[in-house]
Symmetry: C3
């Protein structure tokens, strides 16, 4: 057998962390993001900013998305490499952003990849770093830009 | 180890149930839906209806989709919480509906979430309830509406 | 327990093979495709061709995609049936192809399914056959056709 039970269990718990992030932001339960990050976690959202620490991360996401009518961050398969209490994770996503009041195009698609490092803590796996690497976009970026 | 072998096995079998549903409807093998539901299963498809029981569920899906040229119900990651012989499952999806004969836009995208309860039966996991929660749409809803 | 540890491990390693293919082509690391296929592997890409062997397969993909500005091959859930040292695998995908210099529509979406057979080798699971079954497209197919 190539993968042992510990690795398999870790991979499933890491998938749970990935989905918890998507559901928190798409349901606008931004406080649910706080326990997903280590105290010194850093996110890299490109031109949107690079917040550090759970509160700053949740605040930036809140500010960016609060006035959108809907978002969906759909996650495809992940590459998960567990090494003891650390993991490197890459996950393809398609995210959709809807703003009904926008003139013209009301949506903004982003196709990309989350590139994460995670660590095992007494409270389970948490994000240490998260970077969104955009691969393509479609629709009107102003859907997001006007949302502040 | 956080997850035991039984839970891991259950989660994979639940993923198999989720994909069986998508493949049945996208391949228009609507009879393949029948064994996926408990006898008293209820689906909530919003304005399309809330059929009860495997036959009524399969009939409604058949009627709704039969005249479309193609559909795809792509499933992203799921949140799966197993509790003994029951499970709560949430799964993001993007579905696409194509109707070549439609004037103008020939497609209708739905982004949303399946919110399911499942139960373990002697024949494996089955849907007890399934609800489609729409998060966004794109394209022309008439692609579906004209399909009856 | 329905699934044993060997089957669960195999399914996860098969998922790793699936993601390795997507990442190789989307990052334009076409040489990374070579170890993913058996020596006698055959791919069926429809009108694009049916290359045989790792080199021919990588060459065709390289030629088809090299001049695109971005691609993403996002994989949804898979149906994985392992039978000893062989496996039948079906995986839904949405792929996006971007060509910034294209007139008009700059993108081409394909929704479809990879239908694979895989075999266990001393170097892990490899593709024996891979077929892309298109379910729908959206955008401008010329985004791909002009890329040679």
């Amino acid at each position: 057998v190539a993968l042992d039970l510990q690795t398999i269990s870790d991979r499933m718990e890491i998938e749970d962390l990935l989905t918890a992030y998507s559901i928190a932001i798409d349901s606008k339960q931004f406080d649910d993001l706080l326990p997903l990050f280590t105290e010194d976690a850093v996110c890299d959202y490109g031109s949107l900013g690079s917040p550090k620490g759970p509160s700053a991360i949740a605040d930036l996401i809140h500010t960016t998305l609060k006035s959108l009518d809907a978002t969906q961050h759909l996650l495809g398969k992940s590459v998960i490499v567990v090494d003891g209490d650390a993991a490197d994770v890459r996950t393809y996503l398609i995210s959709q952003h809807i703003r009904d009041a926008a003139p013209g195009e009301k949506h903004y698609f982003i196709g990309g990849e989350y590139i994460d490092t995670m660590v095992r803590t007494p409270d389970g796996w948490k994000f240490q770093t998260r970077r969104l690497s955009r691969m393509w976009t479609q629709g009107d970026r102003a859907v997001i830009q006007r949302s502040t």
